[in-house]
């Protein structure tokens, strides 16, 4: 089965370790991720100003591209792209006045009114494949690996776009279980990583990171799993500071969910691009006999 796929800019530059294992894994699971053509930036962040419609143009244009290419569903990997695209889609569906304004501004494109369904790859794994079926495909169960699911904000907030229960999400836990690893629940799993504050106020990032990582650590986690390149970046950069400041903190590997997926499906670890991760995640995997 073919999935119309929207990568987003970061997956083509800094987060190849999110994209490549996803494409390879889905192929093993009999899904071909077919990148739509002529896509542009998702808009990077959903604009909260009610009358700021110009920042809806970028996500809407991508949805129009999907529509032009006869796609009814668009699969994303990056949590931020997912969030901006899905929220813009909801706006185009629900608000006739804004829809008309945006459509008439984009006089070079076909009219759009929210026809494309925006989904995250985690939803495809849950709804199209199912955890049991996925577990059966696992060739290298990630035994003994204690992984804390970290959702951040973009997969769950606001409620209208959430891929799971907002208060008590379980989708990443189920994935971790299906891959044979041990999920570690911790209260900070839906706490914000600091997001774009890393640009304006990099100092606060290590404090955010400490809240999240120390909580995961104290609950027994050895690593974090997530789907957002910005969370990954912030927690990675934050750790660099923390390792310097706190002698007791040795750092914590952060994995994209697609890396663990590819590893468990028995794919060549090269496809995971662990070299792009913060720190040295491979040592932990070797320790658990998951890497040679």
């Amino acid at each position: 089965m073919n999935l119309a796929y929207y990568p987003g800019c970061t997956l083509k530059t800094k987060a190849k370790n999110l994209e490549e294992p996803a494409i390879a894994s889905m192929e093993v699971l009999a899904f071909k991720m077919e990148e739509i053509t002529r896509w542009n930036c998702c808009g990077a962040v959903h604009s909260l100003a009610d009358d700021d419609l110009i920042h809806q143009v970028a996500p809407v244009r991508n949805l129009i591209r999907a529509r032009e290419q006869k796609k009814n569903e668009l699969v994303t990997l990056c949590s931020f792209c997912f969030n901006t695209l899905k929220r813009a889609n909801l706006l185009m569906k629900a608000n006739a006045e804004k829809r008309n304004t945006i459509n008439s501004f984009m006089d070079d494109e076909i009219d759009y009114s929210g026809e494309v369904n925006v989904v995250h790859l985690l939803e495809v794994l849950r709804d199209e494949i199912g955890w049991e079926a996925l577990a059966q495909k696992v060739k290298l169960p990630l035994r003994d690996l204690k992984v804390a699911p970290y959702y951040g904000c973009m997969l769950l907030r606001p409620r209208e776009v959430a891929i799971d229960n907002v208060e008590d999400p379980g989708i990443l836990r189920k994935l971790v279980e299906a891959l044979g690893a041990t999920p570690v629940d911790f209260p900070e799993s839906t706490r914000c990583c600091g997001s774009y504050q890393i640009i304006s106020d990099p100092g606060v990032i290590s404090a955010y990171a400490w809240n999240i990582l120390s909580s995961a650590l104290s609950h027994g986690a050895e690593a974090l799993v997530l789907s957002c390149p910005l969370c990954d970046y912030d927690l990675g950069q934050g750790q660099k500071e923390l390792v310097k400041k706190r002698a007791e903190f040795k750092g914590m590997p952060i994995f994209y969910f697609t890396q663990l997926l590819a590893l468990a499906l028995g794919l060549d670890p090269q496809v995971c691009h662990f070299e792009l991760n913060y720190g040295d995640p491979e040592s932990l995997l070797r320790e658990k006999n998951l890497l040679s």
Partner: protein, 260 residues
């Protein structure tokens, strides 16, 4: 005069033939001022007809140099149109303004130090990320380039694609003049094409071999022979030379393979 004309009717006839056919004049507005100019002129010639003299904003007059970017609007049309003044012909009532140059910062760099990493472009032109995908740039391109797609390619780190998409850019700067995010698209594309040409596209190794062969004198004899022959013989040789057919495939080889 009439007497003279009667005496030499042939002369009158010649005069009549030379008579310039009546040209239809149409109104155009140059920078807001109305002029009547002959139909069929290019915008550039129309402006010259109206009395403007170009010391800038005019280059090749052949649509390739990018010096004469022009915007115009037609009555009743909300859309701004763009053209190269040397290419577009006048239409009645159009309002024309040339934008031969548009101020945009061109990053300074030491090219030898640049790699093919996407971050090179990000660092030199950070305003790249101000793009909101409004597509005004594409609409402003007289070359029909998908400007916004090329900008998207740069954001995605795909310098090769940006280079390919912008290949026909003539650096007129009209994209930049319309940009909501203050991007200098045409300078970014030039950088992309430079990086692509020097760092990404595979080197033509056979070229170096060929230059070496030339330097080592592989073709000296045949050239010296040609220098010695008389003109008639040279013409004959030229006319009888074996030409590669237009439709020849890559595997075509000449009959005489001495110098291959």
């Amino acid at each position: 005069m009439s007497v003279k004309a009667k005496k030499s009717p042939t002369k009158t006839k010649v005069r009549k033939e030379r008579e310039v056919p009546e040209v239809k004049l149409i109104p155009v507005y140059v920078m807001g001022k109305r002029y009547e100019v002959p139909e069929g002129l290019t915008l550039m010639k129309a402006m010259e007809y109206a009395g403007y003299r170009f010391i800038r904003g005019c280059g090749c007059r052949g649509g390739t140099c990018g010096a004469c970017g022009t915007v115009y609007r037609k009555p009743g049309d909300y859309k701004l149109q763009v053209a190269l003044a040397c290419q577009k012909t006048v239409e009645p009532d159009m309002y024309i303004t040339q934008i031969p140059f548009f101020p945009a910062n061109r990053a300074q760099y030491e090219f030898a130090e640049l790699t093919s990493a996407p971050e090179e472009v990000f660092k030199l032109y950070p305003e790249l990320f101000r793009c909101v995908a409004c597509n005004a740039c594409t609409k402003a391109c007289p070359q029909g380039i998908q400007v916004m797609d090329a900008i998207s390619a740069l954001k995605q780190g795909n310098i090769a694609e940006a280079s390919r998409l912008s290949f026909e850019c003539i650096q007129c700067g009209l994209c930049t003049s319309r940009c909501f995010g203050e991007l200098a698209q045409y300078h970014m594309f030039q950088l992309a094409r430079r990086i692509y040409g020097a760092r990404i596209v595979p080197r033509a190794e056979h070229l170096a071999d060929m230059v070496k062969a030339v330097n080592e004198g592989k073709y000296d004899n045949i050239l010296n022979e040609l220098k010695r022959v008389k003109k008639d013989e040279l013409t004959k040789l030229y006319q009888e030379r074996e030409e590669e057919p237009v439709t020849a495939g890559e595997d075509w080889r000449p009959k005489d393979k001495t110098y291959l």
